[in-house]
Assembly symmetry: C2
Homo-oligomer: 423 residues x 2
């Protein structure tokens, strides 16, 4: 029987029982973490062989005769371009292979847009106001970059097919101060939604009022599937070209969740025009990225197919974890009707919606019982979830046993917090 | 007999002979490069063993239990801090171990100063004018960063003891728009000068009018000695503290010219206050730097002493190259009195001064005969050498034989260009 139809006295009695259970967990002094999208130690073990790829006997001379141990090749090594251009769905002259973090590329692009402008347009710091559209719930670190630069963020509701395209089309065609939109098109952070073909087509066909409007297409989880026959995301670059919008999209990716988090390779796919524009300032900022690490990755995977094969190993480790979360929710929360959640076919997160006004309380209850979650509100710009209901669950790092324990506490916290709002 | 006292007819005859020799070189279609401070392949070989430091059997858990394969530790791993803090002359809580390029740290600091200001001061983009002092001749990439941000650069003459401190003291105490100065204190780029104790003391005792004035102390060559008993540069951080100027200096270094250029580790030494200020924005830009590469470096060197020992191997490869340059100049140019040059005890460059008005011509003559030099003027802000006389010679990359050949052409070019201005 759901909360809605439950007698208040009965609910109060149940809450009393839940409080007791909760106190028992508190006494255990647990320390479980479902906060960040971190790979687990077992996932990191999968790539240990990569450290054998290069050794003191290796030849570090590349395809075109370049010594990868020395300066040069600002835009990355061709061996890595071959593999990762396929991952991003661009051609080999539409990619830059960068350093260890795609976040860094995003930050630097916005920083450069502020300083120098986008492809000859007025620098953003000389424009009175800059706004970004933010599909919600979304990724906190995207929003933090906007906050750092004082960019006004506008929430865009999302559904299973992606963000509200009617609203986006209207806003970008009318408002010249809107310069960008954050998208995680495949396995959105945190919902796990995959943008529908229609959504991608409508993105590619946007007619923004601002000529320096760009889509920040953070395809961080493009090959991070949890199912054997994953949905195929429509190729945004191809679609943009059909609409003569070649310059409108920046596509981001990295191996942070493929090899080593923080010691991977990050990539940017975008038009040749954008690359020419961006590398002008990039060349002031660095002489080049770590080509040896790029080479290590390229040799380790060998090909795009090798990369995909490697991802299957991650899938096998992750599926039981996602299952542990959804099974607990199905069993404990579904019957009570006090929450809803997504069932992602890939990515790193499950998005949970509590009853309105409960998310902060749930996170606090979990914290007090030793379970760390991403802060409530973090999935919204300025940390402000208008309904205080969205919680991002990151099931990748803990072991399945830890996760089961953590989900017991989570479900208990949901029940207690929900009961509190009703009683 | 020097040019000065030479009969013009005799000089013309000699020039005719030099032109013939030059034409012979031109016919050889040589391709020699003395342009950039690149390590040679032999130097890169010195660090190949580092690639064996970590392999698939390695434990990548650090001193404090952190898994270096995963996210975290924005400010770098303690093992690397221990070694590189000694290199920079700061304590272990006054260092951040970053990515692969110190240039990147410099750019980012200036970018952050523009965007957010320095330690609570007004952001630079909101100040009407920003100026930097630039000891000349200096490093072109420092100047390029200033140009990128539209920072006005003021030339400061230098001598063997360092930049003109009288002028610097006067300017920074009077002009609030002066926010920084670029220094390469040990083995300056390109002169190879080492700042005297007095110079360092006077830097540390500066009383800048701008509270957001900082010394950009690029100690890129601090352990890159060419002699057995190198000059000891006074510790700028210690001196700053004596003057209660703890926050006034950023100290930069990297292993780009110790291990692999572009795949090394870069470090920033500065006060705890500055670190707290800078990491606020750094944390928006990245989740962390490549800790595996930091660990690879730390394990490879083992200690600061190990690092110093490694540098001796570089010295042995580089001394014959610097000698090849200076011997050619002593033999060919000294007797004619048409140039002067520095005799560095470390670093990567030799600074050559021709007769006024000859540098561009010398570089062009060299280029046409297949010898690439750093562009004339590159050692001055805006690429403008007021006397058109300074040329940076980078002897590290070519082999000794190539260098001897290149110097033959260089000396010939100096003679021809000098004769042209006199005749």
């Amino acid at each position: 029987m759901g909360f809605k139809d439950m007698d208040k006295n009965k609910l109060a009695a149940m809450k009393c029982q839940w409080d007791n259970e909760y106190d028992k967990f508190k006494a255990m002094n647990l320390n479980l973490n479902m906060a960040r999208g971190k790979p687990s130690p077992e996932q990191l073990e999968l790539s240990m062989d990569m450290l054998d790829t290069l050794n003191s006997n290796s030849k570090l001379i590349g395809l075109n005769g370049d010594d990868y141990r020395n300066y040069g090749l600002l835009d990355g090594i061709p061996e890595a371009k071959t593999i990762f251009s396929k991952m991003l769905g661009v051609s080999e002259d539409e990619i830059i292979v960068c350093g260890n973090a795609s976040l860094n590329i995003m930050y630097d692009i916005i920083s450069t847009s502020y300083l120098k402008g986008v492809c000859g347009n007025t620098p953003w710091h000389k424009q009175e106001k800059i706004k970004f559209l933010c599909p919600v719930p979304g990724y906190d670190r995207h929003f933090s970059i906007c906050e750092t630069f004082g960019i006004e963020m506008i929430n865009i509701p999302t559904s299973e097919t992606g963000p509200d395209m009617d609203l986006i089309e209207k806003l970008v065609s009318e408002d010249e101060t809107i310069k960008g939109i954050w998208c995680v098109p495949q396995y959105s952070n945190p919902t796990g939604y995959v943008y529908s073909d229609e959504t991608v087509k409508r993105f590619a066909a946007l007619k923004p009022k601002a000529s320096d409007f760009r889509i920040f297409w953070d395809n961080a989880y493009c090959i991070h599937h949890l199912v054997d026959s994953p949905r195929i995301l429509l190729n945004i670059m191809d679609e943009c070209k059909k609409n003569h919008n070649d310059d409108m999209v920046y596509i981001f990716g990295s191996t942070s969740k493929i090899t080593f988090a923080g010691s991977g390779v990050a990539v940017l796919g975008t038009s040749k025009g954008n690359i020419a524009d961006l590398t002008k300032v990039m060349n002031m900022r660095t002489i080049g990225y770590d080509k040896i690490n790029q080479f290590r990755h390229a040799k380790y995977f060998g090909s795009y197919e090798g990369l995909i094969k490697h991802m299957n190993k991650h899938k096998e480790l992750l599926v039981p974890k996602f299952n542990a979360v959804t099974e607990a929710l199905e069993k404990e929360i579904a019957p009570l009707g006090i929450g809803s959640w997504t069932k992602p076919e890939g990515g790193y997160f499950i998005s949970f919606d509590s009853l309105p006004g409960c998310a902060k309380r749930i996170v606090a209850l979990c914290k007090n019982a030793g379970v760390t979650l991403t802060g409530a509100g973090a999935t919204y710009p300025y940390g402000k979830d208008p309904d205080d209901r969205n919680i991002r669950i990151a099931p990748t790092y803990p072991s399945v046993d830890e996760l089961k324990k953590a989900m017991e506490i989570f479900c208990l916290a949901v029940k207690i917090a929900s009961a509190e709002t009703i009683l």
